[in-house]
């Protein structure tokens, strides 16, 4: 299942968020060799202090994490703006209420191999991308700015994503880092579902609580 966790719910999903920071350390520091801020078993930077939203992919019990990414509005401080300002001037001009940045997107290949037999890591990343598209659309986001390694470009294209690569930068890891603007629209969502042969939504927004009903009950009590 997929969860969108904002600061008001961090405490509820502390275990999953901790797994996410561990996973980021394994993926970005250990595996890709990016120069990211590692402390102990975690990769965590000061953008994590700015109450970002996290998209988490986990099991139905909400115990085991499969993948995660971090979401921040481009109207506020963002990593791509601050870090890649020189390299991607065009990406950094994309600042508006409906444009968000997605960073630190990663999947736990070991956990996935164990729980989803025959699922390739590329497929897992595409599922996370599709869930991201659903979440973004559900929250009034029309464009996602995101970074990825070059080999993912064709994978995302095959998955039906629509994006313009805005630039590539060397020197962050073993491979260049690409930055792109991803279109978020019902059209793209339909195309991605078709190409990935997925019919059901991956992300379900939580049901409403009904304070009006509760309050009415209180009033009559």
């Amino acid at each position: 299942m997929y969860l969108l966790v904002q600061a008001n719910e961090y405490h509820k999903y502390a275990g999953l968020l901790e797994q996410s920071l561990r996973l980021r350390k394994r993926v970005f520091a250990d595996w890709l060799g990016w120069k990211v801020s590692v402390s102990g078993l975690y990769e965590r930077d000061h953008y994590d202090d700015l109450q970002p939203a996290y998209l988490l992919w986990c099991d139905e019990q909400r115990e085991r994490l499969y993948g995660s990414l971090r979401l921040m509005p481009t109207t506020g401080p963002t990593l791509l703006y601050d870090v890649f300002r020189e390299t991607f001037p065009e990406a950094c001009d994309l600042v508006a209420p409906g444009i968000w940045e997605g960073t630190r997107m990663c999947v736990d290949e070991t956990a996935i191999a164990r729980d989803f037999r025959d699922m390739r890591p590329e497929r897992a990343l595409c599922l996370l991308l599709l869930a991201l598209c659903e979440v973004a659309l559900n929250n009034g986001i029309h464009t996602m700015i995101s970074n990825y390694e070059p080999h993912m470009k064709r994978v995302y294209q095959r998955a039906g994503a629509q994006f313009d690569e805005l630039g590539r930068a060397d020197g962050y890891g073993r491979f260049p880092v690409c930055c792109a603007a991803f279109e978020v629209s019902p059209r793209v969502l339909a195309e991605m579902r078709l190409k990935m042969q997925i019919t059901e939504p991956l992300y379900r927004r939580p049901e409403f609580f009904r304070p009006d009903v509760i309050v009415a009950e209180l009033a009559s009590a």
Binding site: Q6, A53, T75, P89, I99, P206, F208, I214
Partner: protein
């Protein structure tokens, strides 16, 4: 969604809010155009800022506002509490209500506050604010209104935020700085090209072209693209008839 085709509500709201003399007047305009019952703008207390108290403007009744302040409800109000933690817009029915908030909600309703609401968190480079709309309409009807207008409210929330910052700091909007791509898109728009044409000329997708144009509109205060074109020419940011891109 075509980012640059605007609903009549949004066009009117832009125009009128742009001309409004105060944040409070802007809130009243928003309330009238979208037929909601109350609107509140709340800029969070920030120590680093010139103002040392939160900046709150609201159309709620004076009686309710003073009761809210005297009862210390700001510490209980789940909209405020969660609104400054969340980043994405939310329907008030998504709020988890703690037992302390029950009494508050009941009191609010007794003072004419509607049961339904929608809030837009506003995040800029150094501040956080919250725009909230409140409605007495039944839940089903309210859901339809939210679905129809939430995109417009998101944009207008930032317009009102800009107005509040001006009201507090007396800053005049500096001339916006446009990127090379934004200038190119605006240049071709000034020459009557559609986003489809521009996408072809610049070798971009139509969506990205629209995104650049939507940015330009945002930087010029979110009016229609035509007024951005006029202003950009006036400010000599683009020079479409000189045959050279500046």
């Amino acid at each position: 969604m075509d980012l640059n085709s605007q609903s009549p509500h949004l066009v009117d709201a832009h125009l009128e809010i742009g001309k409004a003399e105060s944040v409070l007047e802007a809130l009243r305009i928003l309330q009238r155009i979208y037929s909601v019952d109350f609107v509140t703008y709340h800029l969070a207390h920030t120590v680093a800022d010139v103002v040392d108290a939160p900046f709150v403007k609201t159309t709620y009744t004076d009686i309710w506002v003073s009761r809210y302040l005297l009862s210390g409800y700001v510490k209980v109000d789940p909209v405020v509490k969660q609104g400054f933690l969340r980043q994405m817009p939310f329907d008030w029915r998504e709020l988890e209500i703690t037992s302390t908030a029950y009494e508050f909600l009941r009191d609010a309703q007794n003072h004419g506050v509607g049961r339904n609401g929608y809030s837009v968190p506003i995040v800029d480079k150094k501040r956080r604010a919250l725009l909230s709309l409140n409605s007495r309409k039944p839940p089903d009807e309210w859901s339809g209104i939210v679905d129809q207008f939430r995109g417009e409210w998101l944009e207008l929330a930032f317009l009102i935020h800009k107005k509040a910052i001006q009201e507090i700091h007396g800053e005049h909007d500096p001339v916006p700085s446009l990127s090379k791509r934004e200038k190119e898109c605006l240049h071709w728009t000034a020459l009557g090209k559609t986003s489809t044409d521009i996408a072809q000329i610049l070798g971009l997708s139509e969506h990205t072209t629209q995104t650049y144009l939507s940015n330009v509109r945002h930087k010029f205060g979110s009016g229609p693209i035509t007024s951005a074109v006029a202003l950009a020419i006036q400010l000599r940011l683009i020079n479409p008839y000189g045959n050279t891109q500046t």
